[in-house]
């Protein structure tokens, strides 16, 4: 095989047995890799009704055929499992260097099953695979864990691990790699913790075989030259990271503010990119082989909020900043460092805290239950409760369940701004209607990464569409969801892919991406086949959700989004007209009126007989 190694490692943590398996070449092509291979394996091997934190759930780390190749931003991996937060799919993506190093071990995918009786970690050094004891690491933070593991394996190795939050089965715990990058969303860290798997450490020297290395090199050189020219003209992502975004979303009135009570934040100038760059940035930091470098290596010199680390990115600022009513970027940055060290999803903890703050504000949540004051804008409360959540101490034990279970406990689930129990990211869909349809129909719940229509609705990439209109949104969301499934499965980052690997039209036609895939794999994809593979992945994920008990009724949004008009700003008066968009979306997807794929659609996608 080219592009793919065609091999995966299966680790039975209950017995400690490790086996190497070959991947069928037709499955490899039909499901692309990463996210696609993972859902195929999960669907085939795991009862969709499984309790997510039981040994019967499986945890999959998957790279794609472009991970570890010269393809710019070919540095991603996916973590796929059944989510303990949502009961739906977890499908979480991260970059950094770990994914490339993992691919260079000579294996495309690691699958973990069962549960170790004692804490362990996996050490993979090329084809040497070893399950090692990790009792000495249990309880350690992410930086402490990485330090010890590099000492006892290889200083050149790369580490993905959980922090105290994952160990304590916090439902919003992520998996950190390279210390600061996160496969954050929907509780993948808790699944890893439930398996007593503290870390995965990789060191690889096997290069990825390419079908057409010269053609690959030429195309990558062209793309890099284009990116370089654009960066030279002025790259917002290079200069400010994604932190430049709050002021943009605020301007169109969709910056989540005080638990989505409004979309404009009076303190936005204090939490936006130029403040980060001028005050706290040490230097931009790139994932492996990335010509953009949107990562932020930062240091805050402050008696209360001082520290050094990476971040914050936009989503973190939207959740822990404006979402919680905080206009103090030093405090948001400190909160970000803590989440990285303890292994928490910054979006979900930020929005869960915001939910709790609103419940206190509205008199639903008694302050004595919290054990301290908890008001919008209270930075010290945010930082204190992040620590308590990771360790499940006091009220942190309730926050550790995520906002839906928290709000439900007090009989007011409407205060949880979630879809399928996953906290919203940083775009209020009342002012970006396509994002509303995306949150409602994504297979992991409210994720922007499942088909980020903010590109055209907010950023004008590849071309601008009216964010307040529902016209064309069902068609665009279908295309974006399918195209993003391809990007994820291929092992690429969306930041560069949307602009440089698709034609510059909003329909996202994958001309260059198809070339890249063929130069890597030699599989002879057409553009249509590649998008159909994305659609196949999306539909198989949907089938997993349906088997897990989800129905079309779950393709919905919180009452606030559907019935409470945005109170002010450019989106004033708007709600999400989901009822207008959803039937058309189902029709375009080839699903029946209950959101179930028709037999004809499954036949078209070769998904029959599963």
């Amino acid at each position: 095989m080219f592009g793919w190694h065609g091999k995966m490692i299966r680790v039975d943590l209950t017995t400690g047995a490790v086996s190497v398996e070959e991947v069928d070449s037709q499955v490899a092509k039909d499901f692309i890799g990463g996210r696609g291979w993972a859902i195929k394996a999960l669907y085939d091997e795991v009862d969709a009704g499984v309790e997510p934190l039981s040994p019967d759930n499986k945890l999959i780390f998957g790279t794609g055929p472009l991970t570890g190749t010269p393809a710019p931003t070919g540095n991603r991996y996916m973590v796929v499992t059944k989510s303990p937060l949502t009961g739906a799919l977890s499908c979480s993506n991260a970059g950094g260097v770990f994914p490339t190093e993992m691919k260079r071990t000579g294996f495309d995918q690691f699958m973990f099953e069962g549960r170790a009786t004692r804490p362990v970690y996996l050490w993979v050094h090329d084809d040497e695979v070893e399950v090692r004891p990790a009792e000495h690491l249990w309880g350690k933070t992410v930086p402490e864990t990485v330090k010890v593991l590099l000492e006892e394996t290889d200083p050149r190795a790369k580490v993905a691990c959980i922090g105290p939050a994952g160990e304590r089965l916090v439902r919003i715990a992520g998996i950190m790699n390279d210390e600061h990058r996160a496969a954050a969303r929907s509780g993948v860290g808790a699944v890893m913790g439930s398996k007593n798997l503290k870390a995965v450490v990789v060191r690889g020297t096997t290069s990825v075989p390419l079908a057409e290395p010269e053609a690959m090199k030429d195309l990558c050189r062209t793309v890099r030259a284009e990116v370089k020219a654009d960066v030279k003209k002025g790259s917002s992502l290079r200069e400010y990271g994604t932190a430049y975004v709050p002021i943009v979303t605020n301007e169109i009135g969709i910056l989540p503010t005080r638990n989505f009570q409004t979309g404009v934040f009076e303190g936005v100038e204090g939490i936006t990119g130029h403040v980060l760059t001028e005050r706290y940035l040490i230097r931009p930091k790139a994932c492996f082989g990335c010509p953009i470098a949107c990562g932020r290596l930062t240091r805050v010199d402050d008696p209360v909020y001082g520290g050094q680390g990476e971040g914050p990115e936009y989503e973190t600022i939207a959740a822990l900043g404006s979402g919680c009513g905080l206009d103090n970027l030093a405090a948001v940055t400190k909160a970000n460092y803590l989440c990285n060290e303890l292994g928490l999803d910054t979006i979900s903890i930020g929005m869960t805290l915001a939910c709790a703050m609103e419940m206190v504000e509205k008199g639903v949540l008694p302050q004595e239950d919290v054990g301290r004051s908890l008001r919008f804008g209270d930075a010290d409360a945010v930082i204190d409760l992040i620590g308590k959540t990771a360790y499940r101490e006091g009220f942190g034990d309730a926050l550790a369940e995520g906002s839906y279970r928290l709000a439900e406990r007090y009989g007011r689930p409407e205060f949880s701004i979630t879809a399928k129990k996953l906290e919203f990211p940083g775009y209020d869909p009342r002012g970006a209607k396509g994002m509303g349809l995306l949150y409602a129909t994504s297979n992991i719940g409210a994720s922007h990464m499942a088909g980020d229509l903010a590109y055209p609705e907010v950023f004008g990439v590849p071309e601008r569409v009216d964010p307040l209109s529902t016209d064309e949104k069902p068609r665009l969301i279908k295309r974006f969801e399918d195209a993003f499934a391809v990007i994820d499965a291929a092992g690429l980052c969306v930041f560069l892919s949307v602009r440089y690997f698709f034609d510059p039209k909003v329909d996202l036609w994958p001309t260059r991406l198809t070339q890249l895939m063929n130069y890597a794999t030699g599989a002879g994809y057409t553009e249509e086949e590649l998008l159909r593979a994305g659609e196949r992945i999306f539909n198989l994920e949907r089938l997993f959700l349906l088997k897990a008990g989800f129905t079309g009724k779950d393709d919905t949004l919180p009452r606030r989004m559907l019935e409470e008009p945005m109170p002010d700003g450019p989106a004033k008066g708007h709600v999400v007209e989901l009822g207008q968009m959803l039937p058309e979306f189902y029709r375009l997807r080839g699903w029946d009126e209950d959101g179930v794929p028709t037999g004809a659609k499954l036949t078209e996608l070769d998904l029959t007989g599963l």
Binding site: Y240, E251, I252, H274, G460, P570
Partner: protein
């Protein structure tokens, strides 16, 4: 008439020195178009997202007193 100009991300470099944060208050002649503003400050129209009062607008848009014009580059460089 008085308007407000906001320049975000890398376009901050086009802000006049008296600006506060990302914002500059301007007095402009009646009938001023977005394109006139862009030209005055040397802001490229190509590859830019233009908002007037938070809603998408083209360079030919005529401005009214009190309008807020925000401009930023569509995501070049990724």
């Amino acid at each position: 008439m008085d308007i407000q100009l906001k320049l975000f991300a890398t376009y901050r470099r086009y802000l006049p020195p008296e600006s506060q944060g990302s914002v500059c208050d301007l007095g402009v002649p009646a009938g001023t178009r977005v394109a006139d503003l862009l030209a005055e400050f040397g802001i490229p129209a190509d590859g830019s997202v233009i908002l007037v009062n938070g809603h998408g607008a083209g360079p030919e848009r005529s401005l009214d007193s009190g309008d807020v014009v925000a401009v930023f580059p569509s995501m070049a460089g990724g």
